[in-house]
Symmetry: C2
Subunit: 84 residues, 2 copies
């Protein structure tokens, strides 16, 4: 496995797990005032489309990262809509 | 161009531009209390590594999306560190 491949893989894993602390913070505090609704809406639609693409091309890394990201962003979106 | 490819491409573009409204909101309001520092730190490192990977494999879409995302997240990170 080449070094650049490991860097790319580690980067994509970090980008995905980065949403865990944000989701935890939002769920625990229920404070969503500083979060942009447009950001969450566009991100949710984008990750949903990206997940569909991953299923289509049968790419487990794409399905896993975008599917996991979608679930977290969807939770954030629900909190944003619920708590403003 | 196949339909699934267009969906994947559109999804990745949406995921990238999603950060524009969040960055605008943060820059305009200077309110960062509800943003998770861990989220921004992990995301910045992940996008930086992903950008390096894109340069390595000479992929313009990867360089553009992760590089653009990195710049926006870096701005958010600076505001978070500055305004808490």
């Amino acid at each position: 496995m080449e070094a650049y491949y490991i860097i790319g893989l580690a980067g994509s894993i970090l980008v995905t797990i980065a949403y865990v602390p944000q989701t935890l913070k939002t769920v625990l505090t229920k404070h969503t005032k500083d979060l942009s609704l447009a950001w969450l809406l566009i991100l949710a639609v984008g990750l949903f489309m990206y997940s569909a693409y991953g299923i289509w091309i049968s790419s487990i890394p794409v399905i896993f990262s975008s599917g996991f990201g979608f679930i977290l962003v969807f939770i954030l979106l629900i909190y944003k809509l619920r708590y403003g």
